[in-house]
Amino acid sequence: MTDPVRGFVGTDLACRRSERMVFARLDFHVPHGGALLLTGPNGSGKSSLLRLMAGLIKPFAGRLEWDGAPVRDDPAAHRERIAYLGHQEALKPVLTAVENVRAWVGLVGRADRAEAALAAMGLGALIDLPARFLSAGQRRRVALARVVASGASLWLLDEPTVGLDTASIAALEQALAVHRAAGGIVIAATHMAIDLPGARPLDLAQFAVTGFAEQFEAA
């Protein structure tokens, strides 16, 4: 039985975008080495929740804790432990695949891991190709390689499998397994079924806020 305080914990989270409450009273707990799978219809707030976990959005209510310590007490430490993959890949067309990855992981001093991560995602042959020549699936894999090379403990992935073929999905699943085996946490929102053994599901539709009064007075 895991110590309930260790890991990544969210309590009573509420999120407000564009004057609407997207979700409220949301709780989750992911232990180290665990995974959380976000599901729910479009607009239910999967992307918002991931951005909230990353610290890009301030929660309207509730709190996040890492190993018992509130995240808001040390946002810099939280930034260092996350790797985030959003809808966009953040690739510069004029830079090569490896330069794109190094640009970000170099900030944490891990530029030397870039090539190996790209190889792990099956892009070994394309590392010196400028990003503007890459297909959609290849771009996604470059962004995933960035996550892999980052050395972060918490991976927040928004639709990681978009544009990936079965071989690439297998490479992704392998990378996720390696990460979790080392004690890392994976939180992913995905439409496609990927192999995340033991992943806890989180259905955002459960936490939706409907009804006029709730929209306005939810707290």
């Binding site: 610290g55 810099a76 510069k92 900030l107």
Partner: protein
């Protein structure tokens, strides 16, 4: 290498690689200055009196043109999210990006200005003051402009809106800079004006990154 320096060099390399982006603002600087004699008349005495103001107004307009794109691409391709999550305080990252932008766009202005001064018949003793005023003033324009670019991210009609927000804030820079050049032209010392410009630069370097970072965080929400 220090991550802040890495961000500076990466952004500078990107600016230089996408060099077509750099041509338009400097061309605009030249064209806008050229409109002065066309609109006012080529009489040398008049032009040489108007030269400091015309060059500086053209510098103001061309700087804020270039700034429109400062964050837009990063906002659209997701790089801004990653910058906000980088192990560097967002304020320092902003400073680094703006510094890279200034090197790529401000330095051409510094080089082109004396040539434009020649064309407008700028008084011989004023060139030093002109260059110094641009050296101190264009970073202020870039920093305030970076704030403007950050606060208009995600807004409609971004370009004209950016100009409306930022040009009133530029007024002190225009005044101190042109009075410095004007003073030099009359044989007076430009230093009181340049020192005022310098202290404004110091204040803006300290404060603008905070405003720009706050505006960026709002845009990413």
């Amino acid at each position: 290498m220090n991550p802040v320096l890495q961000i500076f060099w990466q952004n500078l390399r990107l600016q230089l690689k996408q060099s077509s982006d750099l041509v338009a603002p400097i061309a605009f600087f030249g064209i806008a200055t050229m409109l002065a004699p066309l609109g006012i008349g080529p009489e040398p005495n008049l032009l040489s009196r108007l030269a400091p103001g015309m060059i500086w107004i053209a510098a103001l307009l061309s700087t804020q043109l270039a700034l429109d794109r400062l964050f837009q691409r990063d906002y659209e391709d997701g790089s801004l999210d990653l910058l906000a999550l980088a192990p560097v305080p967002l304020e320092l990252a902003m400073l680094a990006k703006t510094a890279a932008h200034w090197v790529a766009t401000g330095v051409p202005v510094l080089i082109a200005a004396p040539l434009l001064g020649l064309m407008l018949g700028l008084d011989g003793g004023s060139y030093g003051a002109l260059e110094l005023s641009l050296l101190l003033g264009t970073p202020i324009l870039s920093l305030i402009g970076a704030f403007g670019a950050a606060v208009t991210l995600g807004a409609r009609r971004g370009g004209a809106l950016l100009a409306v927000l930022v040009l009133p804030l530029y007024v002190p820079v225009l005044i101190f800079a042109t009075s410095a050049v004007g003073a030099a032209g009359e044989g007076l010392s430009p230093w009181p004006h340049l020192l005022l410009l310098g202290s404004m630069l110091a204040a803006v370097v300290a404060l603008a990154p905070f405003a720009a970072a706050a505006a960026l965080r709002n845009a990413l929400e």
